[in-house]
Amino acid sequence: MDQLSAARDNVSNAEPFQLKAPNVVFRLAWLLAGLVMGYIASRVRLPSISLFIFIATLAGLSANWST
């Protein structure tokens, strides 16, 4: 019973779960994927305005993640 209450205390006192940024290998791979996508977009002659609109939309959505 003591063990049970100790475990319960540990859980209630635990720090809230925090997501961390992925490791550097994943980030570099993710960066490369972005570069490749951008290169493909230029090859298929996507209008540049569509990319700027995408960035403006993403910036607006991301602004909700401010403190």
Partner: protein, 200 residues
């Protein structure tokens, strides 16, 4: 904003959160568009014949740098006003006026925290190309998309407990949002540099 407009705030009131959300959304679009008009008009007065052809390259390299910044690989300047909108307005003004004022300020973007660097890439093309129309389109879209998430958030956060949980989830997913922005900026960089090189 959910803490000001969510249904739970308007409970037992004759006011409707949907009206406040609509006013906030309109305010946000107007705020963004106004900034776009001012920047576009001022930038259109600047001489740009010297560097006009190199604009895609300039924005492309900046986007690459800031994609590294968003991915925490490289630290670059991240200028922002570390302010929140005034909480006093909630007490001083009618809730609908408060919603409209919050929309105007937040839609402008630069008056508060700037959580991701992609916001700078609305300013850069607006300034460098000096086109008021382009600036209004980009800043208006920014204002609209900034307000758009309020609707599902408010719909979902029907109690104070759910609002608190939503705030925690937003905090938790912040690193993911930075990575998504890094990806988008890398994409913009590769697109612009590749397009520039294929033309020259």
């Amino acid at each position: 904003m959910v803490g000001t407009i969510a249904p739970v705030v308007y409970r037992n009131s004759e006011l409707d959160w949907r009206v406040a959300a609509t006013i906030y959304t309109i305010g946000s679009i107007v705020g963004g568009s106004l900034v776009g008009v001012i920047i576009g008009l001022v930038a259109s007065l600047l001489p740009r014949s010297l560097y006009f052809d190199s604009i895609p390259l300039l924005i492309g390299f900046a986007a690459f740098g800031y994609s590294l910044h968003e991915m925490h690989i490289l630290a670059l300047p991240h200028p922002q006003r570390r302010r929140q909108v005034s909480k006093d307005w909630r007490l001083r003004f009618h809730p609908y006026i408060t919603a409209g004022l919050f929309g105007l300020l937040l839609g402008a973007g630069f008056t508060t925290f700037i959580p991701t660097a992609s916001y700078y890439f609305i300013w850069l093309p607006a300034i460098l190309y000096g086109s008021p129309v382009l600036a209004v389109i980009l800043f208006g879209i920014y204002g609209a998309s900034r307000a758009s998430l309020l609707w599902p958030f408010c719909q979902w956060a029907a109690s104070f407990e759910l609002m608190r949980r939503l705030g925690r989830q937003i905090d938790l997913t912040k690193p993911i949002m930075r990575q998504v922005n890094g990806f988008a900026l890398a994409m913009l960089a590769a697109y612009l540099i590749s397009a520039y090189l294929s033309i020259t």
